[in-house]
Symmetry: C3
Subunit: 399 residues, 3 copies
């Protein structure tokens, strides 16, 4: 049995982390006057768009606990009403402002639904999933990779960049969110990708794995404030040696080059940044958003810098014809397979004391320690949480 | 967290109440010489009709615990035999009278299956689901609403009336039985019905809700003996004010009249009586019969006074063309939706301390207190109980 | 409540027995160069055929716990490699010999997967499912019925005989493995078979049941060494009286003869031998191999003595046309029905204290005591075990 005390809070975070920003929806999923219910880290959340702004409330009527989103009912511009007894809540602060069936009820004005801060940027709606007594939320930027100057040699587009176009999908995966993070960030897992079409048509020499050499292979990217906090694999430096072949196992290089400037970093609460991937000048962002303790929503986003309409049109075409079929699906399907294959072993946390880590797992341990040190709270749903019925498990933007 | 101590037995009655009468089958479901297995409050029950009489035994062979109803085997007129080893039980008292594979077994005559009293009235088979050591059962009338004189201004037909015709269906609902009772009896829940076709074609002005005013809104209808024990919403008196509109929420009256003489009462163990509904002179009876702790069988019955064959034919036609499609399904589908929506919140009792009740819930609290005071026992299945495989979830009488 | 202390280890063996031989696959299911994953007694096992030999390893990579069999990967002749990070294990001893993504990893040579002894005989692959610290395994013969001399009056073919041909199927049954053993060995359970086509076309007078008389009805067949250990119903002796009719229940004999020399014995860990069945000169062997605590793999094998090719061809024809449709399916389907009917009552062991045994159950009690006395360990999976996805639930040899 392993000693897991160096990252015990991480081991206990089956349901995810509280008091962090998470992507919740693609903007196009929440139309004008739209209302959608979803679940993050066991918290039922209702999103309501009105006049361009998106509001988030707890999706559970205080009265009898039903989800308001099961039958969206909006009777006035600034409220949302429960379909069951007409409990009506103000979008602005969640306060109970009226009860249709009991107009002068003493409850009115004394209770309410928790609200959650929302930010919408470049086609994504982010929600701050906070405890009721958590103070002012940090900015969204504290829970995403930091922006770097365009002149930096590793620059690649960022989901918050002004001219960024963000295209991608979200899928429901049957594994704990931590297995998503650990698979995505793992420099050894590329072994499962080596025969994918994406790798082969580009003639990449995707290594079998990346061997960390010394202590500088993984950079701790911590911040004095709320964040961002991340760990990065320093590919392309002396700290990592690519394993290009394995004679004993008969594994030879399959191609010539590797994507230049590509490296991976993992950011709290659950964001993987892959710079200069799937080709130089693009970036892949992934999120592994906890739904419940056995399920996460897998966000796969490709980001491009598109200052002109022509750039946007070209990127959309490339995304549709190349990156989505060969990357998002063909390449990343292998990752979903791996995470779901790990799930039974790690179910209810059983795998952490039983696993046997190897040399390339130094970054996994670093990530676990980072989360244990900087998380703003561990999610602990008090009641059994039902599966999130809406929205359907997979979305992609209309092209 | 709420203090639930005022109705703690109710909170613990996830599996239902013991030592009460429950409807078990429509008479037409149990043909001559028929045998059917079902489950009430976690108790597996076998019903056997013979010579016009219906017998009920525990549907679990004492030997290896299989359900006799899985392969009905009746070798003599007054016994039922287990298909597995031929354990043969007397219908009259459940005693083990023979074992086909072991004719002189010392067990014979020393053990048996519990039997349950049965009464059949107006097309319904009722079973008294009692503990083995419970004494003489009270009459069926103790567990149904009381009969009232036909001259009473609120008179409407009763399932036990001499000339009553009872038509309806039974459906399996995925919620605890208590959520069925509470939804059906709730004077506020009519908010979910206001746009149904039944309401609109009749031009009713179904209120948004009914506001209780003072302590007389809910009558406690208790009995010195075994029962009946019920609580009634005194609609049509000064104790209830209909909420016809809600200006702030833009909700206006939709019709003109309301069904005259309509009021609702809830009777132990699980019967809702809606007098003069779905129209004056008819009555709707509903039962929310516990199957297990997450499922109930929902009985929806319309009762008419039909002294002549012509009356019966007319009622059958109205039932087929109007009351079943518009009422039983169209109107009450909303109730099933509401109960199943509440289920995750109340699963394993978690909702009782967490809910926030409002003014119209005084009748819900009264019902919980009534059950806590007068129940004859709380069901506590000792072993895990398998889902009831037969009969299929929905039945309706052949028309 | 019964006192189960006379066979407490049996009551605790929900997941099966450890350190015993079990049939794992039909030989034809594991082709040249084949690799298959399966689960026995909660243990995930990978079988790999190479150069005529079959190797068995724990099917769970030490690293992140995934099943190697999910994506079979064999890069060298004497190893199996995990598809995820290339952890490579020697077939001979399970030692970790290489890691594709981390060639000089300090783990190499220090850890490994447990291996399991394998024996292949007459078309069946047997695996010894042992604890890691269990010493040298006993021979396969210790976990099968003993061979008897061909001159013995009860002789019938044995799965280990030199000229034996073994034909049959395997099916997944939704019941605990002990219910399989107890149903198969029960002299009273033949009541469920009496109306099957197999019985009727042969004109057998299958008794209603077999009544044990005195203490010699069940023979304890124990061995000073590791085994075999069994219990046998001494049908055909004075110790058993067939129950041919039951006047009170109107049950009469249906035929004339009975299969001569037929008797049943139950062998640890889970083998039923039915000598001279389904006809004189044949034998039926059954195994009830635990998968998890609610599921077993049911092996149904008919064995014939076939010294010549003509004998083999004739047996194959009879098997295809008669024994499989009428016996394996028609006759034994009733047994599966009975076991699955018992499962809810015995779930989590609840039935053992609650059952009421009768006179014919002396052999059931003898079997429980035998297992309690001679088992080499009770399976206790430390972690939740996922359902075994491969192979599919039912196989039969190509005819």
């Amino acid at each position: 049995m392993n000693d897991t005390s160096a990252y015990q809070p991480y081991v206990e975070a089956s349901w995810g982390l509280m008091n962090h920003w998470y992507p919740a929806l693609f903007s196009h999923e929440l139309g004008d006057d739209g209302l959608v219910g979803l679940q993050i880290a066991g918290v039922p959340i209702l999103l309501r768009r009105l006049g361009g702004n998106v509001h988030a409330l707890r999706d559970e009527c205080v009265h009898r606990g039903v989800k308001l989103s099961l039958q969206p009912t909006c009777l006035t511009a600034d409220t949302v009403t429960c379909w069951y007894h007409g409990f009506t809540y103000r979008l602005a602060d969640g306060q109970l402002s009226a009860i249709a069936v009991s107009p002068e009820d003493p409850l009115i004005g004394t209770v309410g639904l928790q609200t959650y801060p929302v930010v919408e940027r470049n086609g994504l709606v982010y929600v701050f999933v906070g405890d009721a007594d958590y103070g002012a939320p940090p900015p969204l930027e504290a829970d995403l990779p930091p922006l770097v100057d365009r002149s930096h040699r590793h620059w690649s587009p960022h989901v918050l960049d002004d001219d960024a176009v963000v295209l991608g999908i979200r899928r429901r995966v049957q594994s704990n969110w931590r297995l998503g993070c650990e698979n995505g960030f793992d420099p050894g897992h590329i072994f499962i990708h080596r025969n994918t079409t994406l790798v082969r048509v580009q003639g990449w020499n995707l290594p079998l794995g990346m061997r960390p050499v010394g202590q500088t292979a993984v950079s701790w990217l911590e911040n004095d404030g709320d964040g961002p906090h991340g760990v990065r694999n320093e590919f392309g430096t002396d700290a990592y040696l690519p394993v290009n072949e394995h004679e004993e196992l008969g594994l030879e290089p399959l191609g010539d080059g590797v994507p230049a400037g590509s490296r991976t970093s993992m950011w709290m609460p659950c964001c993987l940044q892959v710079e200069n991937f799937p080709q130089r000048g693009l970036a892949q962002f992934e999120f592994y958003v906890p739904v419940d303790d056995q399920t996460h929503d897998y966000w796969e986003l490709i980001v491009a810098h598109c200052p002109t309409d022509a750039d946007r049109a070209r990127f959309q075409r490339d995304y549709d014809d190349i990156w989505e079929p060969l990357g998002i699906y063909g390449f990343n399907d292998c990752d979903i397979f791996a995470r779901e294959a790990m799930e039974p072993f790690y179910r209810h946390g059983g795998g952490f004391p039983a696993e046997v880590l190897c040399a390339t797992d130094v970054m996994t341990v670093a990530w676990r320690q980072l989360v244990s040190r900087h998380n703003r709270g561990v999610a602990r749903p008090g009641r059994p949480v039902a599966p999130d019925p809406v929205p359907p498990p997979s979305y992609r933007p209309a092209s």
